[in-house]
Amino acid sequence: MQLQIIIAREYLERVKRKSFIITTLLVPILMLGLMAAPALMMILSEPEKTDVMVCDATGRIAPLLSGNGEVTFTTTDLTPDALRSDEDIQAYIIIGADAVSRPERDITVYTRGSLSMITDSYITSQLNRAVEDVRLEAYNVGDIRRILDEVQVDCTYHTVNIEGEAETSTSSTLSYIIALTTDMLLYMFILIYGQMVMTSIIEEKTNRVLELVVSSVKPRMLMLGKILGIGLVAVTQILIWGVLLGAASAWLMPSLGAAGDVAANEPELASAIALLADPAYVFGIFGWMLLFFIGGYLFYSAIFAAIGSAVDNIQDAGQLSSVATVPVILGIIASMSVINNPGSTLAFWLGIIPLTSPMCMMARLPFGVPLWEILLSLAVLYASFMFMIWLCAKIYRVGIFMYGKKPTLLEIIRWSRY
């Protein structure tokens, strides 16, 4: 009963705030904007035109270089010194006499300022191809370049996941993106809402509202109510975003898929769209994320609560709160390697240990993880958060009445035995 009253206060005080409503609605728009921005800039920016002077001592490479819309190659007889002193020349290539046998030593590209990445990689690929062609000529096989071009294969493949009952089209790129996004979301939510618990406890303490509240409520109950109330705010936000995402999945994705003959030309993109258009898949990932968020949040917010109870002001909290923030950050860093190798033993253990499991399990999930592993990870996480809340409540109970001196971590841990 008292717990409900506290949860209700913590929840309503936050959800009713304008800042919460604005953030909840604005962030998805901002995220979309951020994703669209690079593409828009590519479209809007003028392609850069670069004229590259080529000074070729072999005389065999330069003729093979062909330009495109942005890069043109001009053969020149000017000396390297003359090229260097001419301010009008943006870039030039000096090709030495031994360029065919040792191109890495005898070919140098000089630029005034730096080139765009696209221009740079185009020049490199042209030089490589030219040297290759010269070398191929030595073998005297007619038409070798044409044969090679015909033989070369460069395409992506349709991947089907046969685990489980229904066969689902998967796309590792999509899995990668989903893993990355959910991971970042989880990380942000745990840190932001965990720290919200901490600052709110510090505020109550410095305000001395606490003295009034604990005369009616057990400190343990107050801490639990606060953690759960703020957690509900986070879940509310996630659910609102989930509904927006679900709507996008149900309406936007099918129309995208139907928009053209994507399926024929880009099987990977097509299967990605098909997957995202499947609400069951989207909500599946979303549901797991929610479960891992709840576990991770409860685990870490208990630590944040204990730290908040121990200090009088935010400044003192900074250093101590690294006890909670560092493992979260380590978790997100580790999960980056887990994304690249989701099946490894390391990934398995990182996904079980409760300090890193929310982030690392989320990183593995989109690539397909046996159900028992997910359940084991969740079980360990939920058992650990119950232990953590029990332990931190003992610290909190003592900490909230400590004013003045900033305690050391060791002292705080000792409080749990009072």
């Binding site: 008292q2 009253i5 506290i6 206060r9 005080e13 109550e204 305000n207 001395r208 509202v209 606490l210 003295e211 009034l212 509240v213 604990v214 005369s215 009616s216 409520v217 057990k218 400190p219 009445f401 000792r414 009072y418």
Partner: protein, 312 residues
């Protein structure tokens, strides 16, 4: 047998390297105002927290209303802490309802009673204002209401008057006495000895975590008076001294004012009879006034603490 609402028996509490309470015992009669006095850091707050079931004593027992104090009794206790605050961003009315519900009132009753109190203290228009817009004194009025709203049997006020101007302190004092007359028991922790003399029936003086003085205020003052009397007279001081000196352990002459009234303070021997003393004085000089000197609680407080500290 007096009706004791709260009995504290041999309670001790230690924190690491610090004994906060050492064998404290006291009994609070129902319907009385009980003063809990002591220098800063003596252990008063720890004791109050134990009574509020916030911390548990290491040893000793706390009996409330005939049974061992438990969590359910909290709904029957109202506590106004010395260091107190409210949620700044919350509206006054919502906040008061929140605290009342934590004490077990339902929303409807809480709102009704709050409206009554707000009307009584003439602060109805604060209901929808945020706490951060209130002055310190205004916020304290709200805290007072929150403390008494659930009509607890036992009220604990820790320095209730600090931060109040004399007018509001007067209003508060009146409300506290009204609550006592309505049957509530009040524990009153303060450094303001004037209000102790005025309000308290009994006191306990805690110093360095021990109970060094306890009892009825009137009796304590009598006990500490040391048979001291003050005389106002007109006449020759020398004659007076000659007449009464054998009956006194000490006799001190004071100043003579513009009207020729002189004062003197006499400390009577245990064996001396007060009526003989007055008769002797009256025959020596023209006696204008005679009264018994009761020491102020201030003096008793300082003397008791200093005596205890010099002995230990």
């Amino acid at each position: 047998m007096e009706d004791i609402i709260l009995n504290i028996d041999d309670v001790s509490k230690a924190y690491t390297g610090h004994q906060a309470l050492d064998g404290i015992s006291l009994a609070v009669p129902r319907g009385s105002v009980y003063g809990l006095l002591g220098p800063n850091g003596a252990g008063k707050t720890t004791l109050i927290r134990i009574i509020n079931h916030i911390t548990a004593p290491d040893s000793g027992t706390v009996t409330f209303d005939g049974h061992t104090l438990c969590q359910n009794d909290i709904a029957n206790i109202g506590y106004l802490p010395e260091e107190r605050g409210l949620y700044k961003k919350m509206k006054v009315g919502d906040q008061a309802v929140f605290f009342a519900r934590l004490k077990g009132l339902d929303k409807k009753t809480a709102t009704e009673r709050l409206k009554e109190w707000f009307a009584k203290l003439e602060i109805e228009d604060w209901w929808d204002r945020k706490v951060e817009e209130l002055s310190k004194g205004m916020a304290q009025k709200v805290q007072f209401i929150v403390t008494v709203l659930h009509r607890p049997e036992l009220l604990i006020f820790d320095e209730p008057f600090s931060g109040f101007d004399p007018i509001n302190a007067g209003i508060l004092k009146r409300e506290i006495l009204e609550l006592r007359d309505a049957g509530a028991t009040i524990i009153f922790s303060t450094h303001n000895m004037g209000s102790v003399e005025e309000l308290c029936d009994n006191i306990t003086l805690i110093n360095r975590s021990r109970n060094i003085l306890t009892g009825n205020v009137r009796q304590i003052r009598e006990r500490h008076s040391g048979n001291r009397y003050e005389l106002t007279f007109i006449g020759d001081p020398g004659t007076l001294v000659g007449a009464v000196e054998p009956m006194c352990t000490s006799f001190t002459l004071g100043q003579i004012d513009r009207d020729g009234n002189a004062t003197a303070t006499a400390r009577l021997r245990e064996t001396s009879d007060i009526r003989n003393f007055i008769a002797a004085a009256n025959s020596a000089v023209e006696l204008r006034g005679f009264r018994r000197c009761l020491p102020s609680m201030d003096d008793i407080f300082v003397a008791a603490v200093e005596e205890y500290n010099s002995k230990n």
